[in-house]
Amino acid sequence: MHELSIVSSVVDSVTESAGAYPGARVLEVRLRVGALASVVVDSLEFCWGIATEGTSIEGAKLVVKTMPVVVWCEPCAKASELDGVQSFRCPLCGELTMDVRQGRELEIEAIEIDDAGEADQAQTIDAGKTEGTSKNKQTKES
């Protein structure tokens, strides 16, 4: 049961990221959680309300996308999705494989914000900045 600490990390990161958009309200937080991430989605949702209460992102909706395990099979030279996590065999040929290509994700994919519309230009520039290789911010008008 470490979902509360996971959710607290999400709240910290999102609060920090949303700080770049003064006056904007965070409407939605989208997570990607792999089937191998050892995280119970129901518990994340349960903790979400408690963890966001009294923060600048209180009221934001949590959307969790579960990512199935995808393995690469060398003999088939093909990536396949697994039905579960009970056996790491290629569903096509039955060969065991250690090459997990997807399913360990534990990440914040994106946030949806309600932009007050002021200083739009400044925010877009700020949002276009990249911090390192793993963190790319982009904006889209929706």
């Binding site: 049961m1 470490h2 600490s5 996971i6 990390s9 999400v10 990161s13 999102v14 990221s17 958009y21 409407l27 997570l31 191998l36 991430a37 050892s38 995280v39 996590v85 009970q86 056996s87 790491f88 065999r89 065991l96 494989t97 250690m98 997990v100 360990r104 534990l106 990440e107 914040i108 994919e109 994106a110 946030i111 949806e112 914000i113 309600d114 932009d115 519309g117 739009d120 949002a127 793993s134 963190k135 790319n136 911010k137 982009q138 904006t139 889209k140 008008e141 929706s142």
Partner: protein, 239 residues
Amino acid sequence: MTTRIVELRQGILKKNDELARTLRQKFTSAGVLVLNLVSSPGTGKTAFLERTLRELTSRGARVAALVGDLETDNDARRLAASGAPVRQINTHGICHLDAEMIDRHLTGWEIGASHQVSESASQRLVELRDLDYLFIENVGNLVCPSSYDLGEKIRVALLSVTEGEDKPLKYPTLFNSADAAVITKMDIAEPCGFDRELALRNINEIRPGIRIFETSSKTGVGMEAWLGYLAEQRGLGAL
């Protein structure tokens, strides 16, 4: 109202992962092999580590251990009897160790300051670069520790013969992320009706090709192979 999507694509445990990366670099440059031992409570991590520390120490290897528990320093006291420097990490309710706890408890070890853990190991000077092996005994839990990188080189999943052969299937994340598996309490495998073949097969379904050691901390069976593996991982050849 303008709504916009801001893509973050950032690891939830980014802070932990970054610190773990820094620790890993530190361990590598110090030339110390770091192992993270994970299992359920009661598997026998401490007994296994006790035996490992004793065997390594008697062979002249320089070893130290960090041991995580919710409360008490009982395990650190037990392990310190091996003569190795040991530090207890009390998580006070947190179900796993994280990189920050490791970093904090290494303070002093890097610079060679004296540290106090237990009576027998107190006042010892330890520097990371003077160590061959550093063992981290995680909090007894098969779920949460698998999410937290501690900067270790080798993650070891332990399973005892009393736990049921299907444990790897029930807790696939840990076994799938492990680099080695250790079966403990082999001395009581028979009276427990332990189905060895089934256990090995289940581990292999979750982590194909993983090195598996069948051990008893009581009789010492399987310890030679385990110690050989440790030496091999350190790149020393046979001890």
